[in-house]
């Protein structure tokens, strides 16, 4: 299906206006030896054919039934109100570019301003950018911000081992270019906050934690910010936005930067992307933020309006000295999150968070009753939110294969993939989409592998 609209006649009129005979003649600057390669690609498909082909392709996936999935670990099946996709499907939104012409971009600008506002309230922070690629890159940019604040005087990032392993990997990749920077703290997978605090020193730019952490547990954050600030470092907190419907926001316990992946806010899992990087900070850092910021102002007639602001931080103005190289971000996902948050509202988000809490606890209690299964063996006393660890009486891959093949259930995440000490440990996620019946089915299915 070609989307080139030109008719023969138009083409020849245009070529005549330009003064060349054929379209091929427009490419004389291209060295002849490489010009017009014969690409080996499948032949063009019509719309009818491509849909049929894609349906065949998608049929090669196991068809996941969200309420029978207990896989989380950073990407979740949460409730997505239909209105979110209704909004996202508006052509004026999704076919637009960044809001360089504010007068015809007030729709997206206001929506992003409101997104920023809701993120600030949810995290209890002063300022939010208009989105980052995803949670992991937002975290990496937060680490860079901390190093930037330290202005070369501090080069150590203390990174909790209870931060999502892929996020830790991305932070490491991002710091590869920052020669002096070192990352410590996560060498020992079992290190707790007390141990991490001991690593804080004059060379520390930031402490990075996740709360609820990768294992779903609430960290004992009392006094943490004070300790970090006392060392002159920043506290960076990676969080779960759904949990903030119920749990104390990082801003309230002194975080300097709060980052999160916003996929849970109305965005489909989509095999891991596109997701949404949430990035919120204190006003003190506003000029060091990466990404777009939308600000309120007035027009020539004193009417309220919105613009991209503080562009002097950004690459297209500041170039080599920009706070970040980010250009394209995840605006449409921010719009999804804004729609989601305004639809759910104060009560809806709280209720969703409560459902996650109670259902995951029900699942944990029931699984814990099975012989050979242990819940949160490493930290049985920590409160948890929607995910918990189960030590299984058999390898995770075997258990998951059984769940899937015999029961159509997608089991939890195999923690042994990242940490050999956690062999036979599974991270189970339970959200508001899992019904009691589906939890009971999981428990019964696990019972079949109980020892």
């Amino acid at each position: 299906m070609s989307y080139v609209p030109h008719t023969e006649l138009e083409r020849s009129e245009m070529l005549a206006a330009i003064g060349v005979a054929r379209t091929a003649d427009l490419f004389t600057d291209v060295p002849t030896q490489v010009r017009f390669p014969a690409l080996k690609l499948p032949p063009a498909a019509s719309e009818l054919e491509i849909m049929r082909e894609m349906q065949a392709l998608v049929a090669r996936n196991f068809e996941i039934d969200p309420h029978l999935s207990f896989l989380g670990a950073g990407t979740y099946h949460h409730f997505r109100p239909a209105i979110v996709d209704y909004v996202l499907s508006r052509g004026e939104f999704y076919t637009s570019y960044t809001q360089y012409q504010a007068e015809v971009s007030q729709g997206m600008l206001q929506a992003l301003f409101e997104y920023q506002s809701m993120i600030c309230r949810l995290t209890d922070m002063d300022v939010s950018n208009a989105s980052h690629y995803d949670g992991a890159t937002a975290l990496a940019e937060a680490a860079l911000l901390a190093l930037n604040v330290a202005a070369g005087k501090r080069s150590k990032i203390v990174l909790s081992p209870a931060v999502h392993p892929q996020y830790r990997a991305v932070v490491r990749t991002y710091l590869r270019g920052t020669q002096a920077a070192t990352i410590v703290g996560d060498e020992d997978g079992a290190a707790d906050l007390e141990q991490l605090k001991r690593l804080l020193d004059q060379n520390t730019a930031a402490l990075v934690i996740q709360n609820p952490n990768f294992f779903g547990q609430c960290e004992p954050i009392e006094g943490l910010a004070e300790a970090v600030h006392h060392a002159g470092a920043l506290l960076i907190v990676l969080t779960d936005p759904i949990s903030l419907g119920l749990l104390r926001p990082p801003g309230a316990f002194g975080a300097d930067v709060v980052v999160a992946d916003g996929q849970c806010l109305g965005i489909p899992p989509s095999f891991g992307g596109p997701h949404l990087g949430i990035f919120a900070a204190r006003m003190a850092q506003v000029r060091r933020l990466s990404g777009h910021l939308v600000g309120e102002t007035v027009d020539a007639n004193d009417r309220r309006g919105y613009v991209l602001t503080l562009a002097t931080r950004e690459q297209h103005i500041r170039r080599a000295r920009a706070t970040s190289n980010i250009c394209t971000n995840s605006a449409l996902c921010a719009l999804a999150a804004a729609t989601y948050l305004s639809t759910m509202g104060k009560r809806g988000l709280k209720q969703a968070a409560e459902l996650c809490f109670h259902k995951s606890h029900y699942a944990a209690v029931e699984i814990g009753k099975l012989k050979g299964f242990e819940i949160n063996p490493q930290a049985p006393m920590k409160p948890f939110f929607k995910e918990f660890v189960v030590r299984l009486p058999a390898p995770v891959s075997e258990v998951n294969a059984h769940l899937r093949k015999q029961h159509g259930i997608i089991g939890g995440y195999d923690l042994g993939r990242d940490d050999p000490h956690l062999k036979d440990h599974m991270l189970v996620a339970v959200t508001e989409v899992n019904t009691r019946a589906s939890i009971d089915r999981l428990v019964a299915a696990l019972g079949e592998v109980a020892k």
Binding site: S2, A17, I18, T23, F27, D29, A38, L39, L41, I50, R60, L71, G74, I83, V87, F93, T95, E103, V104, G107, M108, Q110, E114, C120, R121, L122, D124, S128, Y133, V170, R176, G177, R248, P269, F271, G272, G273, P274, L293, G295, E296, T297, V298, G305, Y306, T309, Q315, R318, A320, C327, T328, A331, L332, S342, T343, K346, L349, S397, I410, E432
Partner: protein, 488 residues
Amino acid sequence: MIGHKIPTVYERSVSGRCGVTLPALDVPEAPLPAAELRTDCGLPELSQLDVARHYLLLSQRNFGVDSGFYPLGSCTMKFNPKINEQIARLPGFAESHPLQDPDTVQGNLALMFELQQWLAEIGGFASVSLQPAAGAQGEFTGLLMMRAYHRKRGDMKRTRILIPDSAHGTNPASTTMAGFTAVELPSDARGNVDLEAVRAACDDTVAGIMITNPNTLGLFEEHIGEVVRLAHACGGLVYGDGANMNALAGIARPGDLGFDVMHYNLHKTFSTPHGGGGPGSGPIGVSARLKEFLPGPVVEYMRDANGARYVSAMPAESIGQVSTFYGNFGMLVRAYAYIRQQGAEGLRKNSEHAVLNANYLRVKLRDTFAVPFDRPNMHEFVCRGAIDGTGVRALDVSKRLLDYGFHPPTNYFPLIVPEALMIEPTETEAKPTLDAFIEAMQAIAKEAVNDPALVKGAPHETPVKRLDEVKAARELKLCDQVKTATNS
């Protein structure tokens, strides 16, 4: 309408309102951890109808490709096929979880594998990773790979990246992030990077050159072969900024020109929608010598005792992950569907017509708006937007275009052309639209002479007039309401 201002979600909020009902709790309540709770998460309270109206009204104040002609240079605002939106929403794709057992996502992995192959074929590269989330991240990734490549060879002194002064801002910004120093190269009188400057800069501290071809003037670099040779000769690598690949797909392969590494912007060349700023996708292609440094996971096809299947793998010397999971898969689906609908011929046809449209606009407009580097261009061209003697500047012309129902071109970029208007029509626009745009531009040029205040005061027909950017930056209101005490 008289009630002009659209209230914000907070202004619409009424305590006690709610837009959803969730399922009732069907399990016993567990005791909540009292110390960890908050009482008010600070979100607004709207009905679902409020939400529907709010975003519908907002959308009507936003301009997309589907609203009209959008010749925003360097951004490739082409038609976003509607079928691709339907495809990406197929539940089998949308609901799939990145941490599922690979055996349960063979459809996704097959799609990624083929897309890797196709992009490699289109760009002339040995291998492709689909990880980067956008062009800028592709650049950063590529630069980290160049760094790793030199280090692997024990070549530690290469700290400089050469970048033409016409380059996009992400190029130097990514360079800094990757721990290099950006060295700016001047352009020559024909809009090429100055060959002498390249020659002079090339030494054993050069990690590589970052080059955009066609460059941001829309011009094919006339000495590209020599530039590549010089970079390679001093031990450097050649990074291609693939943002303008939509002029080259099916026309020339950067790999064949000697490029070592390049990102693709799927949201430009391959029609995935820009979404008001993102998400995009910036896969990276490399020549054989950089293959093992690619970020992962990449998808491989494997045949063993358990049969043939797709698996995800980490290249041996990988610089690591640059984002979680598999990159922006939803965008990969759309790009796959697009390439599959184009085929080799379609891709070439697209490039040809993008270039045809841009040249047509250039020759039609150049008498009114001077084109500093006036030679056959590729998919876009840059003209001077100021109207001499009237005080009307490129920005004014842009704003006046809004009144005519057109989105303006890119303003004031590239930096090397004063008062630049960078015009990229894309191939999906037909001649009547281009002619209407030409007419509007000419009408504005006349208005600038006859009634400059009209143009300088533009736009007149938009929901708001020009906005006070200075006030926005000085008084910084980035959030609808001050933080409230309830909020913890």
